[in-house]
Symmetry: C2
C-alpha cells in the first residue's frame, strides 16, 4: 500500500521555507504500515498541480496534498481540485459558521471579511474535515479507487488534522501490511566504522528486515524495518536481530527508543533518581538549556542555566576567579571546570554542565582557535573538563558541542548510578 505526498507552494520551490510537513505525514503513515512512494513539491500553478495529482494517482492508493488553501490570490489548490474532479465550489454552512466563530473569539469587533468568507467555499464532491485550529478546512475525496486528502499547509493545523482525522480514517478504510521499526541510537563512532563492525551481522539479516544508517553530527541512528503479513514473525525477527546486534556495539548505544533524543534519555534517568541539573553556557548560548526545556516535565530536574556570554558574567555571577581567567584564558579546562562547579553551587544541583569555547567567526575574549571548546561536567563527587576541536562552522560547533555535552553527562550519571541503559 503506497501513499504519495504533494506539497504545494512557490515558497517551497524558491527555498524560503523548508518543507517539514512531508516528514511528519510520512512518519505517521509509516506507523500504520502505509509506505510513502514519493514526496513531490510543486508550484502554485494550475497545470503543475494537475500533473502532480495525475502522477500521484498513477503510483499510489492515497494522495495527501498540503498547502495552497489560504484565502489569498496565490492559493489556488481548491480551484484546481475542482478542475481535476470536474467539480465546482459551493458554500459550506458549517465551515462558514466555524470561521465566524473563530473571528468572534479571537478578534472580537472585527467584521469577517470577504477573503475569510472564501474559506467556506469547498468543492461539492469533497467531504469537509473540520479544522479546529484554523479557518481553512481539510477535504477528503475518493474517486476511482484513489483517496485524495487536501490539508492546510500551516504545520500546526495540518498536524492536528492528520493525527485526529486522517490517520484514524485510513486505518478504518484500508487493510495494511504490518510494519515494525526499531531505532538504535548511537554516538561516538562514524557510519563506516559501524558498518564495518557489523558487516557480518548485516549480511545475515533475514529478507524481511532492512537496515538504514541515519548519521547526524557525531551520532548515527541505525534503523531496522521489518515489513510483512504476520506480525508475530516480524516481531520475533526484529527482536532476534536486535539481540545479536547489541553486543557488537553495546558501548556506543545511548538508547533504543524510536525518535528518543539523548535529552529524553537523560530526563528519564534524572527524574527516576530524583537528581537535579544546571548548566553554565558560554558559546553554546542557551542551546543546552533550550534543548533540555523542550522536553515536557523538565522542571522536575532542571533548575536553570547561567548563559555567561561575556567573560565578566563568568566572574561576577558564576564566581570564576579573575586570576584563573588571566592565567589560563577564558577558553580553558580550568575555567570550564570552575564554571561547572560555580553553577552547581549557585543553583544547588547534583549535576552541572559547563561550556566555554570559540564558535567563531572571529576570535573572542581568548586566543583559542575557532572550533576549540571545553566541556565540563560536575557531579556530586567530581568535576572534569575535556577539550574538543569542533570544526570551523558556528552552527555546527554549537550543535556538536551540545550533543557531546549530553553524551558526557549521560555517561557520568550512568557511571555513578550504575546500571546499563537496557536496565532503565
Amino acid at each position: 500500500m503506497f501513499a504519495d505526498i504533494i506539497t504545494i507552494g512557490d515558497e517551497i520551490l524558491i527555498g524560503q521555507i523548508i518543507d517539514t510537513n512531508s516528514a511528519f505525514i510520512a512518519k505517521e503513515l509509516n506507523k500504520i504500515g502505509i509506505s510513502v512512494y514519493q514526496i513531490t513539491s510543486v508550484q502554485d500553478e494550475r497545470e503543475h498541480i494537475l500533473k502532480a495529482l495525475e502522477e500521484g494517482k498513477a503510483h499510489a492508493d492515497i494522495v495527501i496534498v498540503t498547502g495552497g488553501l489560504g484565502p489569498t490570490k496565490d492559493d489556488i489548490t481548491k480551484h484546481t481540485f475542482c478542475e481535476f474532479f470536474n467539480d465546482e465550489l459551493v458554500e459550506n454552512k458549517e465551515v462558514l459558521r466555524h470561521v465566524e466563530n473563530l473571528f468572534a473569539k479571537y478578534i472580537s469587533g472585527t467584521p469577517i471579511s470577504d477573503l475569510n468568507r472564501k474559506q467556506a467555499w469547498v468543492p461539492s464532491k469533497a467531504r469537509v474535515l473540520h479544522n479546529n485550529n484554523g479557518t481553512a478546512p481539510g477535504m477528503w475525496f475518493y474517486e476511482d479507487g484513489t483517496t485524495f486528502v487536501s490539508l492546510p499547509g500551516v504545520p500546526f493545523e495540518m498536524k492536528h488534522l492528520i493525527k485526529e482525522v486522517v490517520i484514524p480514517e485510513l486505518v478504518n478504510f484500508y487493510e495494511r501490511p504490518h510494519i515494525i521499526h526499531r531505532t538504535i541510537n548511537t554516538y561516538g563512532m562514524g557510519e563506516s566504522a559501524i558498518a564495518q563492525k557489523i558487516e557480518d551481522w548485516e549480511n545475515n539479516l533475514p529478507g524481511c528486515i532492512k537496515l538504514a544508517y541515519l548519521p547526524s553530527l557525531g551520532k548515527v541512528r541505525l534503523r531496522l524495518t521489518a515489513k510483512g503479513k504476520d506480525y508475530q514473525i516480524l516481531s520475533n525477527a526484529i527482536e532476534e536481530a536486535s539481540q545479536k546486534l547489541y553486543p557488537l556495539i553495546g558501548d556506543i548505544i545511548h538508547g533504543t527508543e524510536d525518535d528518543e533524543v539523548i535529552e529524553e534519555a537523560i530526563a528519564k534517568l534524572l527524574t527516576n533518581k530524583g537528581l537535579t541539573l544546571a548548566t553554565a553556557e558560554s558559546f553554546t548560548g542557551g542551546n543546552i538549556a533550550s534543548q533540555i526545556t523542550a522536553i515536557p516535565g523538565a522542571s522536575a530536574y532542571f533548575k536553570g542555566s547561567v548563559v555567561s556570554y561575556a567573560t565578566e558574567i563568568k566572574v561576577k555571577v558564576l564566581g570564576v576567579s579573575q586570576e584563573l581567567v588571566d592565567t589560563y584564558s577564558v577558553v580553558s579546562e580550568q575555567v570550564a571546570m570552575a564554571m561547572a562547579s560555580g553553577v552547581k553551587k549557585l543553583l544547588d544541583t547534583d549535576f552541572a554542565i559547563a561550556t566555554t569555547g570559540n564558535a567563531g567567526p572571529a576570535k573572542g575574549d581568548s586566543d583559542a582557535d575557532v572550533g576549540t571548546v571545553y566541556i565540563a561536567i560536575a557531579s556530586p563527587t567530581d568535576v572534569f573538563a575535556l577539550k574538543f576541536s569542533m570544526g570551523s562552522q558556528r552552527e555546527r560547533i554549537v550543535q556538536k558541542s551540545v550533543n557531546k555535552a549530553f553524551e558526557l553527562l549521560q555517561k557520568e550519571i550512568l557511571k555513578m548510578w550504575g546500571g546499563m541503559l537496557a536496565e532503565r
Copy 2:
C-alpha cells in the same frame, strides 16, 4: 531556465529526517535566476531513481541530485547513474588520495577500510567535484543538453559544494533571466488582514512582479519577485511597487532585508548604538538567548542570560522578592518586571527581556492556565510587562513568545533612540 531537485533516501520517505537540502539548493539557484520546477524525494531504489532522473530530464535543464553517496549498502546512487548513462565505475586516484588524507588527518592509525576505498569509485563519464568536507565526491554529468549534478546528502558537505563549485559553474555555463526578490518582514497582523489592506495595491502590480505571503507564528513575510530580461526595468518596477507599499503597512514592517530575522535587525540597532542586552528566561528556557547568540558578533551587545527555570532561582539569583512571588504568583506581571529589572542590574546592561509563563502540558509553580505568559522589557528608564495568551502547544507557546519578545524589544529601542526602521 528550470532546475529539478531530486533527494534520494528512504530516511526522507519514512519521515525520519526532514529534507532541508532542497530549500538550500532552491534558494541558491533562485539567486542566480534559475527557477526550481519541482522537488522530488525518492527511495533508495534503482527503478525509482531512474524514473526520477528521466522525469527531471523531461522538465528541466539542470537536475540536482543529493543523497545516496555513502559507502554503505543502502546507498546506490552511483550505480544507478552508471545504469542511466550506460557507464561503469572506475577508481579515481585523486579521490582515493583525498580519502586517505582525510583518514590520516582525523583518525591517524586507523587503516582505511574497503568501504572507504569505495568512495573513490565514480562513473567514468562523471567529472569529479572535489568534496573538501567529506569522503564522498560530487559528480557532474552533461548529456543531451541536460546537466546532472550528484552531491552527498550530508548538508554540510552539500552546501559547500553548491556554493563553491556548482553555482559558479552554472553561472559560467548558462545564460539566465534576471530575477529580483524583495522581502518585507512584518509582525502583529494576520495574512488576511494584510491582504485586505493592500488589495488595491496588489491588483495594480505590474505583470513582471509576483507577490507571495509567507506566514509563520505571528509574523508574515511578503515577497515580491520580479523576473525578466532587463535588469533595470525590473529593478525600477520593484522599487516603485515597494515605495507604494511601505506607507500602507509601515507600522507593521520590522525589516526589509531578504532573510533578515528580527534578531538581526535588533543586533544592528544595539551594535550601532553601543547598547547592551541581557535576558531572564523562565518558560522560554534559553531560547531567546540561543536565538540571539546564533548571530555572529552577538558578544558586542549580549552579555548573557539567567535561565531561571525553578522559582527559587528567580528569587536567589535574580533577586525577585519571595513576597512578590507569594502575593502575585510566579506567573504575573509583577514577577516578570522584577525579573527584567533584576537581570538588567545583575548583568549591568541597558536593556533586558524577561519571560515567565506556563508552556504546559501541566500547570507549573502557579495556577496560570497553559499558554498564559508575561513578557517584560526593561530599558534604561522604564520597565513594563504585557500579558499574552499563546495557545496550548508547548513548542508554539515558546516560539511565539520569543518572537513577541523581540518585537517588543525592537519597538522599545526604536522609541527611545528614535528613527524609523528605514533610517537605520
